[in-house]
């Protein structure tokens, strides 16, 4: 599908320049990252696309203990990165293998996937449990938690990178996705992570997405898990709490009741995997 409304593709070479173009035309412009979404869903008002590919934002690097994924790195680049493979036991790599198809992963960027916020996004669910932050620019540099992004007035800031803090890079994490076919979007997805010290879960993160709303963390479940030994009884209880805690709704993919069931099964599988009792579910 071509975008007949687009009249201009701007090619800035600095983030300052890119932001100036965006700010000057909030309704008529959009940032162009991988373009996968824009090609399909650009609003009719958008006449200018701001190509971010010349800003040098596609590197994946370590900063101290943190992992910094340039926003323009494609999902394939992230999937193939040894730094990503070496983080949280390869958790993010394993998630990315299950996102869309290889041709789409060769186009879609990690920054685009993080901020476009499709309700079924596997990437958002995964990044939430790694406590990911967005490094942004909107006239000044800032760091926002993923959950807080896009909440302000006016155009969303330019995302320069996704930062995964060192602590959660060293967490144990697991992901589950339920979809009708390998490349179909999720009926529901979930991810859990935990900082485990001498057999005790010091801190946990639990996120469920595609409910069919965009993923969010389940703070009550996270609090319940802190201080536990992640025994089978405790992971089952947390999974049941998660199933009650999601805002499940019916849509064409699944009913609310089925989604609650998936959430219980998915969260329990993730936690069992983190506790070292998981089975390979593919």
């Amino acid at each position: 599908m071509s975008l007949r409304q687009v009249q201009r593709i701007a090619r800035p070479t600095t983030v300052e320049e890119a932001w100036a173009i965006r700010r000057a035309a909030p309704d008529a412009s959009r940032f162009l990252a991988g373009g996968v979404d824009l090609v399909l869903y650009a609003p009719p008002s958008v006449t200018t696309l701001i190509d971010l590919s010349r800003l040098g934002l596609d590197g994946i690097r370590e900063e101290g203990d943190d992992l910094v994924l340039g926003a323009m790195a494609t999902l394939s680049q992230a999937l193939e990165s040894p730094l990503v493979a070496g983080s949280a036991g390869g958790f993010l790599r394993d998630v990315l293998r299950r996102v869309a198809s290889p041709p789409q992963r060769n186009l879609a960027t990690i920054g685009g996937a993080a901020v476009r916020g499709h309700p079924w996004s596997d990437v958002v669910t995964a990044l939430l449990v790694l406590d990911a932050q967005l490094e942004t620019y909107d006239g000044r540099e800032a760091r926002l938690s993923l959950a807080a992004a896009g909440a302000g007035e006016g155009p969303s800031p330019l995302v320069r990178a996704i930062r995964i803090p060192g602590a959660w890079r060293g967490s144990r994490a697991a992901f589950e996705k339920f979809s009708r076919a390998a490349v179909d979007v999720a009926m529901l997805n979930c991810a859990c992570s935990a900082l485990v010290e001498r057999g005790t879960c010091r801190e946990a993160r639990v996120a469920v997405g595609g409910t069919p709303a965009l993923a969010r963390r389940l703070l009550d479940v996270e609090r319940s898990l802190a201080g536990t030994k992640l025994t089978a009884v405790e992971t089952r209880a947390a999974a049941e709490e998660a199933a009650r805690g999601i805002e499940a709704r019916d849509d064409l993919r699944a009913s609310a009741a089925y989604r609650r069931r998936l959430a219980r099964v998915g969260v329990e599988r993730c936690l069992e995997s983190i506790a070292g009792r998981g089975e390979e579910t593919g």
């Binding site: 593709i9 399909l40 696309l49």
Partner: protein, 154 residues
Amino acid sequence: MIHLTVNGKERDWDALPGDTLLDVLRREGITGVKKGCGSGDCGACTVLLGGRAVNACLVLAAKADGAEVVTIEGVSSDGALHPVQESFLEAGAVQCGYCTPGMVLSAIALLARNASPTEHEIREAISGNLCRCTGYVKQVEAIERAAARLRGER
């Protein structure tokens, strides 16, 4: 105007800012690139962009400016089919043929990076190429044959 290297030849083609790579290729007569769903789901428009399989319907032509593009028209050499194409013929992996160009290109991209893929890896590599005629069994077999052939085993 965009500058592309298509199947080894340099091209300067007119493109509107909102044209996709698929629009431009087909307009210029490269019709081995099929238009299926137009939304990145079916993979009939798969081409190699900088050596990687992508959905041409999701790529704005302007983003491909300066890049190297390979379509099904460019994979044979001197009239000889590519080993992946030969293997598709031998395995009977083609029925209506609409998905075939895209699937062959996905297979070529896979085998360029992984000379000995497992069946799972093959299935993953063609997961973005929908075939409505078959059950994928023959295509997987064809790609296994092609891998062996490219390794010099057949």
